[in-house]
């Protein structure tokens, strides 16, 4: 029993790691305050669930989930290219509202508020990942690949241009770099991994509905990125582990489940607020948001 619960938490940490590392790429490394990350997560989850249920193999669905999310990332980036700071934040937040609205209302396609149930556990090359332990192996494998890719990107020439764009977009343009392209790549890659995370979530929980993807989900992600420190990968990993585990003890205090959910949100929001007020650079932050 305790084992199963522990594995469940590890899987959650894995999925969150994929989400937060990719969000860190957009926010911390490129300076794009992307508040639409949950929408990409949702797009990935729905894409993968719908594909698998119509008979597409898991591995193809997983990758397509990332690609579809990435295409939406490109569209969003193209649409918001000229926006910065507050306006970008709101346009991306608006994007996630629109996606949420579509998921709730396009009933014939997404199942509307009832969502999609009976999503099969994944199987790869004949190996089934139906047990939690095997799913944990799969998730951690993908999380590690994500970590390596994002780490490689941030240390590559592309990553350096991303950081330059974050620090001074105009100067980067003067140096002849196409900052629009860099921002699009950054948002696209972030969206790709969010889509992958969404696919894993859908196949792990085996049930998705729009309420799994509201802006409430954004608060823990933002809190992790800022607490870990902007542009810090080890900070993000540390913060992910801490923040996923932190609200768990509430479960054992004997509150009813209708209190546990809001209490978790409350704790996340409070932590985010406190960190912004007293330690705005987080654990290992190199820069502050501008």
């Amino acid at each position: 029993m305790i084992d199963a619960y522990f594995t469940h938490l590890l899987i959650l940490i894995g999925i969150y790691l994929i989400l937060t590392l990719s969000l860190q790429l957009a926010i911390g490394y490129t300076g794009l305050l992307n508040l639409g990350h949950v929408a990409f997560y949702a797009i990935g989850a729905y894409t993968s669930a719908l594909l698998v249920l119509s008979g597409v193999p898991f591995i193809v669905s997983l990758i397509l989930a990332g690609i579809v999310a990435m295409l939406f990332g490109f569209i969003l980036s193209w649409g918001t290219n000229k926006l910065r700071g507050d306006y970008l934040a709101l346009a991306t937040l608006g994007f996630s509202f629109v996606i949420y609205n579509i998921l709730s209302n396009w009933i014939s396609f997404t199942g509307g508020p009832l969502g999609i149930a009976g999503i099969p556990k994944p199987s790869l090359f004949g190996i089934s990942f139906s047990s939690n332990f095997s799913f944990f192996i799969l998730t951690s494998f993908i999380a590690i690949i994500t970590l390596i890719i994002i780490w490689k990107i941030t240390t590559s020439p592309l990553g350096r241009v991303m950081k330059a764009t974050r620090d001074d977009e105009l100067a980067t343009k003067v140096l002849g770099k196409n900052t629009f392209k860099v921002k699009t790549y950054s948002l696209g890659i972030a969206a790709f991994f969010a889509g992958i995370a969404g696919s894993l979530y859908a196949h792990y929980i085996t049930f998705i509905n729009p309420s799994s993807f509201t802006i409430l989900q954004l608060i823990p992600l933002l809190a992790i990125v800022i607490i870990g420190g902007l542009a810090s990968i080890r900070g993000t990993i540390l913060a992910t582990i801490i923040l996923v585990l932190l609200p768990e003890p509430i479960r054992f205090l004997g509150f009813s489940s209708s209190v546990v959910g809001p209490a978790r949100q409350f704790i996340y929001a409070l932590i985010l607020l406190l960190i912004l007020m007293y330690k705005p650079r987080g654990f290992y932050g190199k820069v502050e948001l501008e």
């Binding site: 709101l90 629109v98 209302n105 809001p262």
Partner: protein
């Protein structure tokens, strides 16, 4: 004919509430220069506070209204003093303030959920009254009251901003904080004052919403989004623009329902927001946003 008239009437009712939310939000934005998301939470919390005083404790309705407005003012002012002022002292950017206000919004909404639960609440002060028919459109006395009271309040507010000395000082700070400080206006005082006034209006909006609709814990986010979109449509930072935008949004949402399924009502606001951000970020009234560094 009567259908379109009915939609316009509905649009005016929704628009009146949006205009109230947007005007307070816009006032805070114009002086403080950041997006105060938690403004929506002030509206929602006021609505629930009224529910608490009137329906749970059984207080006299008039007193409950007065206490609710006081509560809204206190809540807005408290957020400014406890959170925003501390952040401003460190000269943090408007993006940090935006995230902080977003966190505050979720914090307050979670608090509503913990205190009042997720079930939908109704105040039930005015029982379903018979509606009056005007040229084939139906409207209840309460709805007429909502439209009239918001129009009166908004005109008072505009008068205050244009003619009263403090209102002028607020516009001075929103125009150019440094110059305003040189002429002896304390910007910190003006920040507080705009929170007091903006939140007071939000409290009234909360009361009107509570009378007209059911209470849901997440209503603050929704109203905030609408208020924000209205403010952008009208030209962000301009109070008359926000009022105009509020009515514009209310009308287009209700008329849009004619073409789209009801569930997409909320998406209409965002489509309009995107169109304005991309094509006319200055908004209808076209006030230029200064480049800020």
């Amino acid at each position: 004919m009567s259908v379109i008239l009915q939609l316009i009437v509905n649009g005016l009712i929704t628009g009146a509430i949006y205009a109230l939310v947007a005007s307070g939000f816009s006032l805070i934005y114009s002086t403080n220069k950041f997006i105060h998301f938690a403004h929506g939470a002030v509206v929602a919390f006021s609505a629930y506070f009224l529910y608490f005083l009137f329906s749970m404790i059984g207080m006299n309705f008039g007193f409950a209204v007065i206490f609710t407005i006081a509560f809204a003012i206190l809540l807005g002012w408290g957020m400014n003093v406890v959170v925003y002022r501390q952040l401003r002292k460190r000269k943090t950017s408007s993006v940090i303030l935006l995230i902080a206000s977003f966190a505050l919004l979720i914090l307050l909404e979670s608090l509503i959920l913990i205190l009042f639960g997720a079930t939908v609440k109704t105040i039930g002060f005015i029982r379903a009254a018979t509606s009056i028919e005007i040229f084939g459109a139906f409207i209840t006395p309460l709805q007429i009251f909502i439209i009239i009271s918001s129009l009166v309040l908004l005109s008072l507010f505009l008068f205050f901003m244009k003619k009263v000395k403090v209102g002028k000082a607020m516009r001075a700070v929103s125009d150019n904080k440094d110059v305003a400080e040189i002429v002896g206006i304390s910007s910190e005082k003006i920040y507080s004052l705009s929170f007091l006034i903006g939140s007071g209006i939000a409290g009234i909006a909360g009361i009107l919403v509570a009378l007209e609709q059911n209470l849901q814990p997440m209503m603050g986010t929704n109203l905030m989004i609408k208020g924000f979109v209205a403010a952008v449509i009208g030209g962000i930072g301009s109070v008359p623009g926000a009022i105009l935008g509020g009515f514009f949004l209310g009308l287009s949402e209700n008329i849009g329902v004619w073409f789209l399924p009801l569930g997409y009502k909320d998406a209409i606001a965002f489509v309009i927001l995107f169109i304005f951000l991309l094509l006319r970020p200055k908004g209808i009234l076209g006030i230029k946003k200064r480049e800020e560094k």
